[in-house]
């Protein structure tokens, strides 16, 4: 008996504790989790908490519908046709979002906050709304675009009072880049930061790369996994996180086609994998939107416009993957989700 206890103790000691510390919090209306490898538990928690606080700050600064946020003030000024002074960080964000919007031929359009509001997605909970076709039509006809925004030094105004910014498809990616920058500054070599499913990798998990699961849009489990190498980022646009279902059983998701003003209904999920580059986080957040919104036949062109080679699409026809992505992905339940290559 004593020998058995000894052997067990030895076995347990041999297992050791893997130097992986996992912390989670709720920011940006979603779940944020940070894994740090190779640091003491105390240090990892301290670093994670610092990053959570930075996120909280970004959330309040760039909240689209919370009175008092920098973005709220900006939107107020836009609707009144007034010029307003903005901080350098917000100005840089506006410039980058404008250039990405141009690159996506307007499919990524953070200026349609009015439409997002009309569809009831500028709330913490999503319950069915009474769809008002007239309101939606007017918002589409008003044609708010990023190019309506005029920047002159630190002064910003909009030529179009219908421009209402919602950085919902940008801010999480921006926060990922900020977190990666901070982790590097703090000397953290290995970490994985996940904001509501948008993930960026730094270093690796011990002697192997970080591995991420890709959620199936209609099942409570991952359909595949892939290795997220140092500096890479992954993001998904899906119709299964923020949506409501009306009395006819029709699903309305939060991703709105700016050309029609209606939620996209031909696609369930688009995942993009972005190689290391400046602002990989932002690109992983933004680039999935134009692919999601494009009609199925135009997806390849939309991906190309955004410079995306690795992507995966789930729609009613099934799962399809780009040739580059096919080499990286590992299917978990092949028999149930037989992928096709384009």
């Amino acid at each position: 008996m004593r020998f058995l206890v000894f052997v067990l103790a030895l076995l347990l000691a041999a297992c050791g504790k893997e130097p992986l510390v996992h912390s989670q919090s709720y920011v940006f209306g979603t779940l944020v989790d940070i894994s740090i490898y190779g640091e003491s538990e105390a240090r990892a928690h301290q670093v994670s908490n610092e990053i959570f606080q930075d996120f909280q700050k970004l959330h309040h600064q760039y909240h689209a519908w919370q009175k008092g946020s920098e973005l709220y003030e900006l939107n107020e000024a836009f609707s009144q046709g007034k010029s307003i002074q903005v901080k350098p960080e917000l100005r840089e964000m506006l410039e980058e979002a404008t250039s990405l919007s141009k690159q996506s031929n307007g499919l990524f359009n953070p200026a349609i906050g009015g439409l997002i509001h009309a569809w009831g997605f500028q709330r913490d909970e999503f319950t069915p709304i009474d769809i008002q076709p007239e309101v939606i039509k007017n918002l589409v006809n008003a044609n708010p675009v990023m190019l309506d925004i005029v920047m002159d030094g630190d002064k910003v105004r909009s030529k179009n009072p219908a421009v209402q910014l919602d950085l919902g498809g940008y801010a999480k990616g921006y926060a990922l880049d900020k977190a990666a920058e901070k982790l590097h500054q703090l000397g953290i070599k290995n970490a994985l930061v996940n904001i509501g499913g948008n993930i960026i990798a730094i270093g690796q998990h011990g002697d192997h790369p970080w591995r991420v699961g890709i959620q199936h849009p209609r099942q409570p489990q991952p359909m595949a996994t892939l290795e997220l190498l140092d500096g890479w980022a992954i993001g998904t646009s899906g119709d299964y996180q923020r949506y409501f279902i009306d009395s006819d059983g029709k699903r309305y998701c939060h991703i709105i086609d700016p050309r029609t003003g209606y939620p996209v209904q031909h696609t369930q999920a688009v995942t993009v994998l972005i190689p290391p580059q400046k602002h990989a986080g932002v690109i992983s957040d933004v680039a999935s939107k134009p692919i999601f919104i494009s009609e199925p036949k135009n997806r390849d062109a939309a991906a190309k416009a955004m410079g995306v080679e690795n992507y995966l699409v789930v729609d009613n026809a099934g799962i399809s993957v780009s040739p580059a992505m096919k080499k990286r992905i590992h299917w978990l339940n092949q028999s149930k989700s037989e992928p096709e290559t384009k």
């Binding site: 779940l31 994985l192 993930i199 699961g213 890709i214």
Partner: protein, 126 residues
């Protein structure tokens, strides 16, 4: 005696045996996928609320910012039984059986995850 016993089997009997075998293979393939979960981790906010085994049937109450989420463990599965949130996505997720499955209630900040001996991935993209 034995051979006499077998001689009494008619071609139809062999067919029945064959179909039975096929049925076993089919059931094995459809039902026996995925490692059965060893543990359930319930998180509330930034804390691990509890780590439980799935072999005891019970209902757990977790209090979040909106109120009480009820989590039911039954016959090795787990689900959100009820939730104070308005959209009820968490309840609609249904039963979780296998390692790696997770359900989350963002409004009430409660998450369930089934953990196994080895995790298939470090973090989930969704």
């Amino acid at each position: 005696m034995k051979s006499a016993y077998f001689k009494r089997l008619l071609p139809g009997d062999y067919l029945v045996v064959l179909l039975g075998l096929l049925l076993v293979v089919y059931l094995f393939k459809t039902l026996w996928h995925g490692e059965h979960a060893a543990k359930l981790e319930i998180r509330q906010g930034d804390q691990v609320f509890a780590t439980l085994s799935l072999d005891q049937d019970r209902v757990i109450q977790v209090v979040g910012p909106l109120g009480t989420s009820k989590i039911e463990i039954k016959q090795g599965k787990v689900r959100f039984l009820s939730s104070p949130c308005s959209n009820q996505y968490c309840v609609h997720q249904g039963w979780l059986h296998h390692v790696g499955q997770a359900a989350i209630c963002l409004p009430n900040r409660v998450s369930l995850e089934l953990l196994g001996a080895k995790k298939a991935y470090d973090s989930l993209n969704y």
